[in-house]
Symmetry: C2
Subunit: 425 residues, 2 copies
């Protein structure tokens, strides 16, 4: 899928280290900026995207045609495609980021020591954030906006299949940087899209402070095996809903239908339904019609209620279908439900539907996941829905950030210690 | 350095995965405990250490003898050696950890969404913490205590040279776990001390949630190259003190002497002195006697003042001496000082001595390090001195934790979302 652009002079502008050094320098400039300047850059970038939409669509056509010629699926081609509406959405997403409060300078905590030393912990940028992502070109502008908002320079490594679109988008974003007097390398797209470059990219710990991969298991594995840059994994969502015996069954059905069917291809969609044995029959009978469009794969107990249900394998409980398919299992009690969740969960979002106070408390305390919900759809675990603003990803690891990551998660915290001559005894 | 213990049955109790699974199970139990139970386990462990001190010293003697026989330096042998006093210190360090407030359950933030969803973020244990460390056997009890306090199970991988001591200490710590009815595997020492095991250990991401290495550059490199477990680097401290032109020179000398000489072998000791050109001559003339015991390596400008000064090489500015040696450089202004710091700093602790408000503000804003100090010794950057309690290390990376890491840094944050039937539109 070598596109017309790849042989361009643009694409040989030095090796990764050269680029890295430049981005690091830009991050030192960003560290000193105020939010008004960064917001101005973003607003101008949003306007430039709109003004340049003709050029962007033209570049995007090359990628779309190449994808079609390579026999990519309609889903892949659709993800790649940009039109006026989608570009307008990208621009308005940037404006949403501008509207967020500046996370920098926030005093997280502060105190005075017995010897008079004044200690505070203050939010500062991470420095340089590296993003590795796949086909969707809107990630280029979304990620760049969140990084710039939080005072970080960003190195973007998109896929070969979107390179022409990404180059055009980077150009527009840099118009914003220029308008605000910021170094253009604050937003740097890697134009060398050879496969091997990813492995080199994730080893640039001399220049990159944090890596956020947005991609499938293959990318995650590559990063775990190769990265020397610290990373935050935006992992899979094998999400469960457990319907407890003492609950409002209508509510449970509404939530299950919403969690499974409102957007089955996203990570906060539910994948497995756990039913307390006392309500399993009633629930499945009532839910059969609302879940008519969903392929069900269950254990013996649930299949004895709904004959249309296929047999669930061990693998069905372990995987993320990302489709209108749902695994079902009947459990004896809440302990068995929690055990199942903690065994199969990818640590994303887990819900209980119950009216029992003790059951709700137990589930919240014992389920080990980024987010635990009571009587609400797993689909709410998303930066926007939780009120964090736009998100750079959803962390399924426990270090640094867990769950939806907003601009605050793109910062670090620095100790500031002020004295009047204190020495340590 | 194969000791008498290594061939013992104790040492072949299954492979790393087997141990890992067991520790992970223990972490699920710990997640449900209250702090009273964990504190009780720690208090009993401290008492057991004291009661067992004879046994521990006996085991330690084997390690000490082996170290001597292997021709280790006096420093290494001294670090390894345990006596009644040192064991009493280990026990009292555990009691200090007991006295810390429980970080778990702390509601970090909380709010209500327009649709009525109640969102909160709550501190929870990381799960399983892995510690890789070198000779000092007190790390075994210090690290285990901090992990248990914060609700984590811990896998400890000490050095081969301290294995007999560590085995004895683990035994005593487990007496505490038993007394509190907690699973013994909550504190698990890896007894297979073959070199290769470290590389395997750092790849146990199936069982370990966070790795904290405590060791030199070799260990850090091994981890960066091999780890699939997320880690927090406790790195070197190439710390600077910059003496600005407008400052109290007596205060500056006191701070420099304290930062350099009070304990030169630790990471928060200063390594390089930067002097504004307007006060360089006066400072060096006044500081010559107080710094008499320190070998100085300077640039031409500083050597023209003190003839005893050796010539500093590029490498002298880049390294951590950990000794009574100090690099010196005269700078034209604060910008040159900040540039030097940001170029050579390992991101640990950086100080400015000044009475100029603008200079102090500029230094605090523009220096990129875990801690920035104004008019105070770098030696204060330590968990105890800053009031965080005992520390598990000092992070020089920007993700998760930066600077001294106390019990709060051994936790993660979980989203709890409570509703009454909300579904996403």
């Amino acid at each position: 899928m070598v596109s017309s652009f790849v042989s361009d002079a643009n694409f040989s502008e030095g090796n990764l280290s050269f680029l890295g050094e430049d981005v690091k320098k830009a991050s030192a400039v960003l560290r000193k900026t105020d939010s008004a300047t960064r917001d101005m850059a973003l607003t101008s970038a949003a306007e430039a995207l709109l003004e340049d939409s003709g050029e962007i669509i033209k570049a995007n056509k090359i990628d779309v045609e190449a994808a079609k010629a390579a026999g990519q699926t309609d889903t892949v081609v659709d993800r790649l495609r940009l039109d006026e509406t989608r570009i307008a959405k990208m621009a308005s997403a940037i404006k949403d980021v501008v509207a967020l409060p500046d996370p920098l300078g926030q005093v997280v905590s502060g105190w005075v020591r017995p010897n008079g030393l004044r200690v505070k912990r203050v939010r500062v940028p991470l420095g340089v954030v590296g993003i590795v992502y796949e086909n969707r070109p809107n990630v280029t502008s979304d990620a760049a906006a969140l990084c710039l908002k939080s005072g970080n320079a960003v190195m973007l490594r998109g896929s070969a299949g979107a390179i022409n679109s990404n180059v055009a988008i980077e150009k527009s974003l840099r118009v914003g940087l220029e308008a605000a007097g910021l170094p253009l390398s604050a937003i740097t797209l890697i134009k060398d899209v050879k496969r091997e470059t990813v492995a080199d990219f994730v080893r640039l710990d001399k220049f990159i402070d944090c890596l956020i991969p947005r991609g499938g298991p293959g990318l995650i594995k590559l990063i775990k095996e190769n990265a020397t840059v610290p990373y935050v994994i935006d992992g899979d969502g094998n999400c469960h809903v457990y319907v407890d015996k003492d609950c409002d069954l209508e509510m449970a059905i509404d939530i299950v239908v919403n969690a499974k069917t409102s957007r089955p291809g996203v990570c906060n969609a539910m994948e497995t339904l756990l039913l307390h044995k006392d309500i399993a029959e009633q629930f499945l009978t009532m839910a059969d019609t609302p879940l008519a469009g969903v392929e069900l794969r269950g254990d013996d107990a649930s299949r004895s209620v709904l004959s249309r249900m296929l047999e669930a394998t061990e693998d069905d409980y372990a995987r993320e279908f990302l489709d209108l398919i749902m695994a079902v299992r009947v459990v004896d009690d809440i302990d068995m439900a929690i055990e199942h969740v903690n065994k199969y969960s990818s640590g994303h979002s887990e819900a209980i539907i119950t009216n029992d106070y003790k059951a709700a408390s137990k589930f919240m305390a014992e389920v080990d996941a980024a987010a635990v919900l009571v009587n609400a759809s797993t689909r709410f675990i998303d930066g926007g829905e939780l009120g964090l603003g736009a998100e750079i990803g959803i962390s399924t690891q426990k270090l640094h950030a867990r769950g939806p990551m907003g601009v605050a998660e793109l910062t670090s915290v620095k100790f500031i210690v002020e004295g009047n001559g204190q020495v340590r005894k």
